[in-house]
């Protein structure tokens, strides 16, 4: 029964700062109900939240898929939006392209992607300028 898993899907809306963070709260609850250890939950929370807020702040919206296995969590975030021109630059701590509106709310510190990478064991990012960004995060346990 090694392929037992739970798949969760969330639609993330652009500019929805009010509900931003809801998806990561739901993922957290599911992880607790499945008996996943606290240290892992904490990393998943940070990764999910940052990925979610990235979509809220920068894109036209997207979809987050979370698959929870008995040895790892896989988070795949795909958005429609501007895409990232220079991924290496986007991965630099402190670099941000967040609009003023987001910065005024305390977001856009340029730590989103770096924090996601820090929280994950495997991190993949792929983007086509003007079309989409796809981020895949794996956290093992």
């Amino acid at each position: 029964m090694r392929d037992e898993f739970i798949k969760l899907n969330y639609e993330i809306k652009s500019r929805d700062f009010i509900n931003g963070g809801e998806a990561s709260s739901c993922v957290k609850k599911a992880l607790m109900q499945l008996g996943i250890k606290s240290a892992i939950i904490k990393r998943v929370c940070v990764a999910c939240y940052e990925a979610e807020m990235n979509v809220v702040i920068h894109t036209l919206g997207g979809n987050m898929e979370v698959i929870i296995y008995n040895n790892k969590v896989e988070i795949t975030m795909k958005d429609q939006g501007p895409g990232i021109g220079d991924i290496d630059l986007a991965m630099t701590e402190g670099y941000s392209t967040a609009p003023d509106e987001a910065r005024e709310m305390g977001f856009g510190g340029g730590m989103g992607l770096p924090n996601i990478r820090k929280s994950s064991d495997e991190f993949y990012i792929n983007s086509v300028l003007g079309e989409y960004t796809l981020v895949k995060i794996i956290i093992n346990y």
């Binding site: 037992e4 990561s24 709260s25 499945l34 008996g35 940052e50």
Partner: protein, 409 residues
């Protein structure tokens, strides 16, 4: 799993099954079964919200009677700092202490001194704790963290509460005077129900043992009578309480007493939940200290208090004009710090997992998600659960049956 005592109880004969408490409970810990409220104890944090919202006195706190003090040779009382805010406007704290003593106590212990000790310990201990550090002085919030935020346990400051510190100092003092521990009865006058739970659950710790929690509302009429009778003839004695200690009664007071700069003080369980969610998501790492209270306004919002919490706050803040304020706690010795620092004051006896092993939990979660998809999602509450999601979880746990939902597709 160890059973945990809860102080909030249902008085079944008073319950009319109105569902008000079920919908207001911030923990979704209440259900309606056969038109009566039922508290699911593993989810309850004893915040007292159900007591506040029930109009039929169907939720009550399991309280100690003042008669209980008669069992002890020496009777010491620790009044909550909120007591000095409960008489409409300024009343000399010494007079209030006299009024408390007149109820039959031998000593009224000044808890503000213990608050100052704890402030000093926090200032040091904060360096050894991941940021933001979370204050541990509201037992309902500590329980909330135990139940729903196990990832944040390491952020909780590892220090005893002022009440425990006070009890411990009292026990030491009377031990030196050759009293046996069982001769000394220590009682806390509590503004809220979560403290009753805390006192009862730590009853076995002899060093800081508190023998009972007496609700402020029960003794209030006697205190008021004493205060009114004596206030005109009362000659102002200087009060040597600590003003910084008094501030612990109101939200933000702990941080002010510690002259903390980057802090968040948050009150009301739902607001505390918002802050804890954000901390869990990795926010606020630039915040030094979070001071959380389950009750609105801080401890002055306690369900067992009488005065309007916002007037109580005014009185607390104005007390510095009257108190002969002296910060009596200069240096903090390592010995004292170590004595009141605790390895872990968190109870890990909670578990919200659906099953012990991963495979069974996955099966149950799939079943639960299927149920959620067939429910209307309007959280009407007619099934007796506070939300459709809570109902699905109840069904999976065997606590409700599917046919209790009349709208299932």
């Amino acid at each position: 799993m160890k059973e945990i005592y809860h102080s909030v109880k249902l008085v079944e004969e008073n319950c009319i099954g109105c569902s008000r408490c079920m919908t207001k409970c911030p923990m979704e810990a209440i259900r309606l079964k056969n038109s009566k409220a039922v508290i699911y104890e593993e989810k309850c944090i004893d915040c007292g919200e159900c007591i506040k919202v029930c109009q039929h006195n169907a939720h009550k706190a399991d309280l100690d009677d003042i008669e209980a003090i008669k069992d002890f040779k020496v009777k010491v009382v620790i009044p909550s700092v909120t007591i000095y805010t409960q008489f409409g406007s300024y009343i000399n704290p010494s007079l209030i202490n006299e009024a408390v003593k007149s109820l039959g106590f031998d000593e009224v212990y000044d808890i503000t001194y213990a608050c100052d000790i704890v402030s000093e310990i926090i200032k040091k201990e904060i360096e050894n704790t991941p940021k933001p550090v979370i204050g541990s002085f509201c037992p309902a919030v500590v329980r909330l963290i135990e139940v729903n935020y196990p990832t944040l346990i390491e952020h909780v400051i590892k220090v005893l509460t002022p009440i425990e510190v006070a009890a411990s100092l009292i026990r030491e003092k009377y031990a030196k005077l050759n009293y046996k521990p069982e001769d000394v009865g220590i009682f806390y006058i509590t503004p809220c129900v979560s403290w009753i739970t805390k006192v009862k659950n730590t009853a076995l710790n002899r060093k800081s043992q508190i023998n009972g929690a007496i609700p402020m509302s029960d003794i209030y009429p006697s205190l008021l009578k004493y205060v009114n009778k004596n206030k005109s003839s009362y000659t102002e004695k200087s009060t040597n309480m600590s003003y910084t200690g008094v501030l612990w009664a109101v939200s933000g007071g702990q941080c002010r007493s510690m002259e903390m700069d980057e802090f968040i003080s948050v009150d009301g369980t739902k607001n505390v939940i918002k802050v804890l969610n954000d901390i869990e998501n990795g926010k606020f790492s630039d915040v030094k200290y979070v001071e959380p209270y389950a009750c609105d306004g801080g401890c002055v919002g306690g369900v067992l208090l009488v005065e309007n919490p916002y007037n109580a706050k005014r009185i607390a803040l104005n007390l510095n004009e009257h108190i002969n304020f002296e910060y009596r706690f200069g240096g903090l010795s390592d010995g004292l710090k170590n004595k009141f620092t605790v390895e872990n004051n968190i109870n890990k006896n909670y578990d919200i997992k659906l099953a012990d092993d991963f495979e069974s939990a996955v099966k149950k979660m799939k079943y639960m998600n299927n149920i959620i998809n067939s429910l209307p999602g309007n959280d009407c509450g007619q099934c007796g659960s506070p939300s459709c999601r809570a109902f699905a979880e109840d069904v999976v746990k065997g606590l409700s049956s599917l046919n209790e939902c009349k709208f299932i597709r």
